[in-house]
């Protein structure tokens, strides 16, 4: 039963990937829609970022002094100026670790 569910979930997921690339002709999308699509990264990724920072493993909002907020702010500043992915991730993790291991321990 679980195998069947996984297979169906896999087929569904594949269809979400394939439909717009292979089945829908680009001409069907008007110029206006194409202009809106330029916002896709900005309109999708915050839905992954915000809950991962502001909501904890138990589904409730974190406190305003949570180290994850500090880590995210450092990552934003470092990322903005360095334009470097590794520096962004590392600076965020490092500042998060400094808070939890040095200040909170």
């Amino acid at each position: 039963m679980t195998w069947l569910s996984i297979t169906i979930a896999g087929i569904l997921t594949y269809f979400t990937r394939m439909t717009m690339i292979a089945l829908v002709r680009r001409d069907l999308l008007g110029e206006k829609i194409k202009a809106v699509l330029a916002y896709v990264p900005s309109a999708v990724f915050p839905a992954i970022i915000f809950p991962a920072i502001f909501i904890n493993d138990y589904g409730s909002y974190i406190e305003m002094n949570d180290p994850k907020i500090f880590g995210a702010l450092v990552a934003i500043i470092v990322g903005y100026f360095s334009k470097n992915v590794i520096a962004t991730i590392f600076s965020g993790l490092l500042s998060y670790w400094i808070i939890i291991f040095v200040f909170l321990s």
Binding site: T2, T16, V36, S42, A43, A47, I48, F50, K68
Partner: protein
């Protein structure tokens, strides 16, 4: 004209930094699946059949929490529906591919690969073999995801939980969108999406991940209209 080989390795290079968060996350995903008591083969098969990061964990957590298969499958479909938007954006650059090639390349479209290839495509619109860049990002992601989840399944969660490495996931996506903070319209769209995702977090089937982008794109359309 850039060669296929160059574009493929450029794609690999562009996505490589994201492995810093993808690999620990993959290990955690594999380990959680086994800890929840599922057959290791089944946990690993998901990395091939679904190949969809967080949706794999959600699926197993729902099932082990007593949810029906229907709920679990629907949730995976809803979480992964964001790929429809990636496909709509990428289709502009993949138009000339044969139908079979479109079917094949679709399998490796993932968040980070879409983001990095899309950035590259926007700057190199006239290149003929652009899809090799997408292959480069997608294949790299696929190989690393397989190895990482497999490692998590076999070795257990050898990544210390105290390190909180799950936090690397939002950081990876911050790195992707951070340069767009220069543009006010994008900042508005990002905040609308982020705030919506918190407001609708409790909505059934994890549908916040679909609702928030739809609201944010609607706001983007309004902004475009105001600009004129």
């Amino acid at each position: 004209m850039l060669s296929k080989k160059y574009l493929f390795s450029r794609g690999m290079l562009d996505i490589a930094p994201h492995m810093l968060s993808v690999i620990p996350f993959g290990i955690i995903c594999g380990a959680i699946g086994v800890e929840l008591g599922f057959n290791p083969y089944l946990v690993y098969a998901m990395s091939i059949i679904i190949f969809g990061g967080a949706s794999q964990i959600v699926f197993l957590q729902l099932l082990s929490g007593g949810a029906s298969s229907l709920v679990a499958v629907t949730s995976v479909g809803v979480i992964n529906s964001r790929h429809l938007l990636y496909g709509a954006v990428l289709s502009e650059y993949l138009e000339k591919l044969s139908f079979i090639k479109k079917l094949l390349i679709s399998y490796v479209v993932v968040d980070q690969g879409f983001a990095e290839s899309n950035k590259f495509f926007k700057k190199n619109k006239t290149e003929q073999y652009l899809h090799y860049h997408l292959l480069g990002t997608g294949v790299t992601m696929w190989v690393c995801w397989q190895i990482a989840t497999l490692a998590g399944i076999i070795l257990g969660s050898f990544v210390p939980e105290e390190l909180g490495l799950k936090f690397a996931i939002p950081l990876t996506f911050i790195a992707i969108v951070v340069q767009d903070l220069k543009k006010m319209d994008h900042v508005i769209v990002m905040f609308v999406c982020g705030i919506s995702s918190l407001l609708f977090f409790e909505a059934p089937f994890k549908s916040y991940i679909l609702i928030s982008p739809v609201i944010a794109l609607f706001v983007a359309a309004l902004l475009l209209r105001l600009k004129k």
